[in-house]
Symmetry: C2
Subunit: 399 residues, 2 copies
């Protein structure tokens, strides 16, 4: 017996990160491979309180079906989050609650992509997005990037060269995996090009509020005058990923398409989780909570970067991110980070090989490192071990 | 500005039920239109307890990312539910947690359907499944049904006539919308035909445990010897839909495909909800809870059917279901239940026109009635109003 699956299934493979996470769960492994928030910062006591109140005050509503669009008071509160990234012209008609922003990634591809259509994305880009999009059989065209994000000349060239470009996918702040942030000028330029070539922009913005210092950047959506930016937001990184509460913000008519998709996909996100998030936002100050996260992550990032500078051999490029969860390492061209990962794992240290973040392959001399989910002494020890593995590889190649 | 959406979006329309539910939320409307469980039966006090314990004992785990496949102790407990429908050869490797069984419907179409492929379904069939499947551009071929479910001769004829049939979709117990149950002989015959023609069976079984009297039927999966049945289960009807916890049970290699799909679609279902359901199953007796639901629904069903028999004019066919949430009314051919629905709403009573449950249209003389979510005096009053509307329509036509 062999069942005949759809053609799209040929494209789908297990996320390397998720597979690697299984290997790295041994307690002796210092894993920089995941992308997990620090669980010791979760507001567990507060959420105990919240769940009690949700059951006492909204029990029957919380356990029942609710509207596909989401719980109205939560959609209202999400408008505040959008204001934080300088998007202030929305109403709840622009907001659909999703099960994390990963669901938003699935939905944008479902809404826009016919097989063979083109997605323009940063090079490198988020692996989870590549996997979600692949189910809809797009062609990925990577846009060159530098420390300010997509290079606009290359973006325009690729908009000109390719037919059926449906959207440009961008992660503007503290990008996953590169840790880099798109400059304000580039954000404006990106929107202008999208206008000129009539394509949508999918702005994936899970980290924007986790800026360590200075003012939060205006979202790409801030510069949108034509309703062509689809913004994917989430509470996963500023609050809790286990609740699976995210959102899509989009122009009203565009949002209606996503509501239809949501209806077919899972009817609605969990009612109780939506009410719980709204209640938490009512009863506690999430800004204080976000500050706490930022302080811890900044300390870990600084420690990691300082140790890298001290321990890594010369000729290795590392991003110093202004926020978020990740940094990005570029080794000399001739070093293969995928092969190196096996040697690192022998020394009980793990990262994600960077090649996985390039939908069309190549760039095997890169890797992604996460610092949010690791105690400080282990960061130092892990980086030291990594440095040793890299040094050995450099010596071997020379020998 | 007009963004260019994917071709599949042309097929997607708002669920008539969800749209109608908005109209019927006025408190004066007696609505038989929804498919909601009775909220007064939700174990709210118990769940308050459960959430406190989940936060105290598993706080950091519950708020964190978890495995795509689902929370292992919950997957174990789901094996007990499968045993209740006489499927006893599974391990947790056969179980994937989904966000309600609606997500399972989306996933089966995503896994199997290329545009133009054929889905064989009962006529009528579940509207939410039609909507989920439509996103993948299938051709629906309806199989004739009688009081024992799909008529096997017609099923075989349609398996012979159609190329690229990918799966047969069936709701064996207390079907939504017809309230009818597939006989044991037909279940066996269905599996034999699926074997002969090498197609999958998608068994959507949200109501099986809600049998009012006698023994629960063996699932279609019970008769499967070749791993071709994909079983969609859910806690929505026996416990709480607002938690969005359901599952797919399938042969191990088939299940791996669904894990890949889940990873792209939303990474995982909410961790806290999964732990909460597992904890409820540990600390409370769900069988006692299910018995309570069955007793209430049976009383409501009996009352509804008795009132219908007393009040409805002759020549109208009504299902007397052995369980579940719905009954199904067939009016004389010349009465249009969609037009009648507007008149009923004027009298503040609502149902779902049956035509929506036939993917290829027709059968406008039918409608679906829900009895699970309505107090008893309102059931009597609502049925009386409906009877009056029907009588008036019959008189008008004659006049």
């Amino acid at each position: 017996m062999s069942l005949r699956f759809a053609k799209r299934m040929d494209n789908m493979r297990a996320s390397e990160i998720r597979e690697m996470l299984k290997l790295t769960q041994r307690p002796e492994v210092i894993s920089f491979a995941g992308g997990l928030p620090a669980p010791e910062l979760f507001p567990v006591e507060e959420m105990k309180d919240v769940f009690v109140k949700v059951m006492e005050e909204y029990g029957r509503i919380a356990l029942q079906y609710g509207p596909t669009e989401g719980y109205e008071p939560l959609r209202e509160k999400i408008l505040d989050r959008m204001v934080k990234v300088k998007v202030d012209k929305l109403t709840t008609d622009n907001i659909l609650i999703t099960s994390g922003s990963q669901q938003g990634l699935d939905f944008v591809a479902k809404a826009f992509i016919n097989p063979g259509d083109v997605i323009l994305c940063e090079s490198p880009t988020y692996l989870g997005a590549i996997n979600a999009f692949r189910a809809y059989e797009p062609r990925f065209v990577e846009v060159e990037t530098d420390d300010e994000g997509m290079i606009l000349e290359d973006l325009e060239k690729k908009l000109e060269e390719n037919e059926n470009v449906k959207f440009i996918y961008a992660i503007p702040d503290f990008q996953n995996p590169s840790g880099r942030t798109m400059s304000i000028e580039r954000r404006k330029g990106l929107v202008e090009l999208a206008n000129k070539y009539n394509v949508a922009i999918v702005e994936d913005n899970p980290y924007g509020e986790l800026r360590f210092e200075g003012e939060i950047n205006p979202a790409i959506m801030h510069f949108d005058t034509e309703g062509r930016v689809i913004f994917l937001g989430t509470f996963s990184k500023i609050f809790s990923p286990g609740l699976r509460v995210g959102w899509i913000a989009a122009e009203k008519e565009v949002l209606k398409k996503f509501v239809l998709i949501k209806q077919g996909a899972d009817l609605q996100s969990a009612t109780v989780n939506q009410i719980a998030v709204a209640k938490f936002l009512d009863d506690f100050d999430i800004e204080v909570h976000i500050d706490k996260i930022k302080n811890v992550y900044k300390r870990r990032k600084d420690l990691m970067l300082n140790t890298i500078r001290e321990e890594f051999p010369e000729g290795i490029k590392v991003t110093d991110p202004d926020g978020g969860l990740f940094t990005w390492v570029v080794l000399p061209k001739h070093i293969n980070a995928r092969e190196l990962a096996a040697k690192a794992l022998e020394k009980n240290v793990a990262y994600v090989p960077g090649g996985s973040f390039f939908p069309n392959g190549g760039n095997e001399n890169t890797f992604r490192v996460n610092y949010s989910n690791m105690e400080e002494e282990r960061i130092v020890e892990g980086v030291k071990r990594l440095a040793q593995v890299i040094k050995e590889a450099l010596t071997e190649v020379r020998a």
